[in-house]
Amino acid sequence: MPALLINGQRVDAADGATILDAARAAEIDLPTLCWYPKLPTVGNCRICVVSVEGEDKLLPACAATVAEGMRVETESAAALDARRGVLQMLLERYPADHLINGGRAEPRNEFEEYVVRYGVTPRAVAAHELSLRQGDERPGDPMISHDMSLCILCTRCVRACEDIQVVGVLDVAYRGEGAQIVVGADGDPDKAACTWCGECVRVCPTGAIFEVMPRERFGESRVAADRVVRSICPYCGVGCQIDLHVKDNEIARVTSPTFEETTPNDGSTCVKGRFGYDFTQHRDRLTKPLIRKGWVRRGGRWIWEGATGAARRGGPWQSMTEEGRGDKPAAPPRAIGKRIRDLSLLERITADVRDRATTPETWYQPFREATWDEALELVTQELTRIHADHGPDAMAVFQSAKCSNEENYLLQRLFRGAFGTNNVDHCTRLCHSTSVSAMQDALNTAAASGSMREVEEACDVIFIAGANTTETHPVFGVSLKRAHERGAFLIVADPRRTELAARADVHLQMQPGTDVALLNAMLQHILAEGLENWSFIETRTHDFDTVRKAVQPYTPERAAAITGIPAELIRAAAERYARGPNTTTIWAMGLTQHLTGHDMVTSLLNLILATGMIGRWGAAMMPVRGQNNVQGSSDMGAIPFAFPDYQAVADPANRDKFARVWGVDPKTMSLVPGLTVTEMAREGSPVKALYIMGENPIISDPDIAHAEAWFRTIEFLVVQDMFLTETARYGDVILPAASFAEKTGTFVNTERRIQLSEQAIDPPGQARADWEILVDLSNRIGIKSPFSSPADVMEEIREVAPAWAGVTYARLRGGGLQYPVPHDDHPGTAFLFADRFPTADGRALFHAVEYADPGELPDDEYPFVMNTGRMLYHWHTGTMTRRSRGLDAREPVATVEVHPDDAAELGLADGDMAKITSRRNSIVISVRMSDRVARRQIFVPFHFREAAANLLTNPVLEPHAKMAALKVTAVRLEPATVPATA
């Protein structure tokens, strides 16, 4: 710990600290331009220079390390002179005429602040001897643009792109005064693989690189925010912390906090987090409750006087099925009967974007606006009536992985407490339900064992099975890339050559759905080589012998025959995996959304346990959760078999405890696990009244046609949402809900981190926060809910959820808390299972699994295997991202990825329309040739209602968790012609 004197003040610095570190720690301010937290230090701007006794030159504080006894003067005449010199030289190429206004200078950015602080007077641009700087400027870009005359060449953007995001789109080109920032080799960010994450925007000290939307609104001056509010990104399970800059009750800009060490994102976001916020301002937002027109109030009761039968829930719109068939509105008449490729570019574009996902006017026609009182009265009346008429089994609720913990808690509380039903579930069913069932069987747990940051910090081998992390969890994906850059060995098992697969040291490109064969074979080889972890197996697990026997027949050769992966690669991957020393295992939908998803995860867990790759810092088990609160809503009991904190509903003691806290008679509550999402919405289900909060199952659930048919038959449907979604069209009552920015609440990310998101703006019109609606409704229905804020709800949660006992809003500010947090002083838990598992005797259980076919296999009629999933720029059913201008501009149309050779065989080219037909339905979609997919496989993102992938998918259910097999559908692919319009 060297001690030094800075400006006469004694400062104790850490070993290896720079003068800048030491000064800042002692709250001595130093100017910096090129230095930025977490970027490699390059020391090029030279503004941070300081005088050090005994040195004949000034030293850059950002790069010079401290030494014992050093005497530093930060404000010496020489240092000040050098700083002014730097600013003066930069100003000679910078348009700062606005700063020459008789001392009333308004600095617009970090750099100009220094100009003003050091009293440097710029010369008028007209008098400059050097020309303004140039560079690539991304003209017309929907999200990021440049004004390179403002660039001071600090290269923060270059390093942010290269070293934080590991992309390398930006660089310095040319030399001398011609040096400038360029985008890729030719100015095209797309060709340079830009991901529009906006890291460059974040770090640029002058606004030379800026966000388009705020610039359009505020011009070159700064966004003078009324306030800045800490929030949590509403998209994926990484749970990035973001700051919302609010101006006139609108989000004007999103930035991310930099200095907190503990945030999951360390100041980064992906494109969605930084640019996908304008959906909150979209004109489609619901501002008043809607009631289906047939409902009328007579004599103090609501009665249905509208149409009956199939027409009851109809409207002037067509069903998704018909839309999917391709009768799209407003196709340009010129295009009739032509193939898309024969059209001019302009026509092609109009044909493609003719039905962007804004809510069509006609969708509102079956509804009338209502007051909250009317709407909630009707909901209360009908839910109570159906409960009385048909019993608890007729009641069901789809909760939401996009709503807060408090909201999810309140909703299951209402249905369990007031209606005595466990028909409570949410989209986790279609996400990690098979992971949960497998992890419950093996470890009695339902969440990741470790933290995201440990991968970058401490792991030697990363094994990713079926996760396209760089697109679906971009900020985590980027930290994986950084881990790989610093030397971690990367193994990716994926049928697609995703970005991570392409950069992996070993890519195991298997036939879709054959993972069990691969994973069993890896274990077989590990055992054959004696690389298993015997002491772990002996002291921490049971039943290894059954697995040892079961995997014996799975030689790498046999697995090669099933999976199509060369046996050598399987061996190599297995050996690296087992040798670690610290191997982290990451998986997502590629493993779970299969008919055999539970078995796939089980075989992966066997691998983890046999090698002991769990319970150490660096050896983590990481199922990456999809939605921003899919972990939290499961934690809050939005699952049919458990109360909050995974307390089984079947256990009478649990029931009694919750009944007491909720003030209901335990006998009215059910001890039987309820139906899953996939079981509720299908023919023959007992459900008559359904309450949906913030989900859009018509687009997200398999076999849309059948789901729609079921929705038409339901007795009463309430949808609480921001928009009139495809699902809400069938509703009786639509309750307008607040967006993430319009309410306060907590969310749990994929590493069990509970984080607080605070209200930044007011909801539009009469829209209300989901928790407010639920408190109101609960009180009306008769389950007492004396909560006046989400913090009140949290107080009850920590009373009933042992792992949350130490959670309070005050403690959550900052980095949040990783549960378990068993008491008020507990710091949270970064990783679990260091010495025991949460099973009865603390040991994990092995379960032998056998390979089985992934369900629907291709044949002559349906020769392709269709895989579905997400893409970087869109989110789930597109309700938010397709209403975000920048995101939608990046991916405006539904596309199918087709291998170039398959495309050539079928006579398809980029941009052509193709028809995909499965045993159930067909869609028309635009072709994108890509060798990311293997031959005879295609990939269809499910975000697009006009080409909804789930029209095609197979509604068969995985037996353990009732997961749908969304990853494997046999389909036919053929060129489509533009359909004739009426």
Binding site: A82, M89, R175, G176
Partner: protein
């Protein structure tokens, strides 16, 4: 012999002894000249002892900075836990400097031998010889010699039959002066943009590919041969001026002298004698006006200083300049110093890697002002602005390229102010075309 001229009796021919003798280029020829004896000696010694001898000899770097070579080698880790590297700096792009080029053209095996000795001393299996890209002929000669050295077993897995690995690769530069700066050179070898790196970390800790690295100039490395062949004492005695400067040095003389070329003299040799005797003095009717003794990057000397200057590290400093790379640029009374200085500034402005603010903007701004003065559009206060800019460009940047630009400007304005003023006042006709 300072090829192409006949050797002058006042020269001391050690490094340049075989210049002009094509026979010394081949392996056999080099062995006949007594080549590879030094390497054999070195390989029989402990690396630490080799370093000790070089330290003893007083040999200092010939690339510009004059850092003691043995000391530099001793900074390398004593034990080889990671790969060590040697980089031979053959980028020679300093205006007025062309000595390394001749070493490589005539005695390529001397360089290979020198590199191999250094590699042994610092325990580096691999050496990159980074040669200026425009040196097409020297590159071809070096490559041929390297191939020969591999064939003859000098290099490779069993170098000189010692069962040790010594490998060398030629890396061609791509036309950037800055890549001669040692850390930019390493970036360039790694395939990155040739930007100098901040120090620390120093190359001996983290050099090329992040591994301990030593970088030496071509002339430095070939100077190791006489040290090993004749002994440190013998080498140390080669010193006419200050005992801290030992050995011989090649001076590339260019400009307004009768006989430009490379001259090898003992350290401490008088600059006036080099210019007036060895190089035959000025052309008829001309007189000496100024001289830059150490490549373009050092302060300019006027006539008196030139005649008083002793050519060694200390002697140059005494006259307010530096020995640098030993590129001697001579100006007679016909030279337009303002124009010459503008040309130098243009060179640095063009070659700036553009990282540091002062260098990127300062060099360019300096050029603009000088051009303005030459066009007759200058003002007296421009001279202060130039000095201000030079002050900002000195001692404040990552590498010394920016200082190098400032050096001739500051010394030029100081010593030839009247020439600047003549343009400003209109006493001198503006320059019509600034080429």
């Amino acid at each position: 012999m300072g090829y192409p001229h006949e050797p002058h009796p006042k020269e001391t021919l050690i490094l340049s002894k075989h210049f002009g003798d094509a026979g010394a280029r081949s392996y056999d020829g080099w062995v006949k000249c007594g080549g590879y004896q030094a390497l054999k000696r070195a390989l029989a010694m402990d690396p630490a002892d080799v370093i000790e001898i070089v330290k003893e000899s007083g040999l200092r770097g010939r690339g510009g900075a004059g850092f003691p070579t043995g000391l530099k080698w001793s900074f390398m880790p004593k034990e080889r836990r990671k790969p060590h590297y040697l980089c031979c700096n053959a980028d020679e792009s300093e205006p007025g400097t062309f000595k390394d080029r001749e070493i490589m053209r005539w005695t390529p095996h001397a360089l290979i031998e020198g590199c191999a000795i250094a590699q042994h001393a610092i325990q580096a299996e691999v050496c990159y010889i980074y040669i200026r890209g425009e040196f097409t002929e020297p590159i071809a000669i070096m490559q041929a010699a390297l191939d020969e050295a591999y064939r003859e077993g000098v290099l490779g897995g069993n170098a000189m039959g010692t069962n040790r690995r010594i490998d060398m690769y030629i890396h061609r530069g791509a036309g950037a002066y800055i890549c001669g700066e040692e850390t930019a050179l390493m970036n360039s070898i790694e395939g990155r943009r040739g930007n100098p790196r901040i120090r620390p970390p120093f190359p001996a800790q983290q050099g090329v590919f992040g591994m301990p690295t030593t970088i030496n100039n071509v002339e430095t490395l070939v100077s190791v041969l006489p040290v090993l062949n004749e002994g440190a004492e013998w080498y140390k005695d080669l010193s006419l001026g200050n005992p801290k400067s030992t050995g011989t040095k090649l001076f590339s003389v260019c400009g307004h002298v009768r006989k430009p070329g490379n001259y090898e003299v003992t350290m401490g040799f008088p600059l006036g004698e080099l210019v007036n005797d060895l190089c035959g003095g000025m052309r008829d009717g001309r007189t000496l006006k100024a001289c830059i003794p150490g490549g373009s990057s050092v302060p300019i000397l006027n006539r008196e200083e030139t005649e008083a200057c002793l050519l060694d590290y200390e002697g140059c400093v005494e006259q307010g300049t530096m020995l640098g790379s030993g590129g001697v640029i001579v100006f007679d009374d016909s030279a337009d110093m303002v124009y010459q200085i503008m040309r130098l500034a243009r060179f640095y402005a063009h070659e700036s890697c553009a990282q540091c603010t002062q260098c990127r903007e300062g060099t360019a701004w300096t050029v603009r002002i000088l051009e303005r003065i030459l066009r007759g559009e200058g003002e007296m206060k421009d001279l202060d602005l130039l000095l201000d800019l030079s002050e900002q460009m000195t001692g404040k940047t990552i590498c010394v390229l920016s200082d190098s630009c400032a050096a001739p400007i500051v010394s030029g304005i100081k010593k030839f102010r009247d020439e600047f003023e003549a343009y400003i006042t209109g006493a001198k006709q503006p320059v019509a075309a600034l080429t």
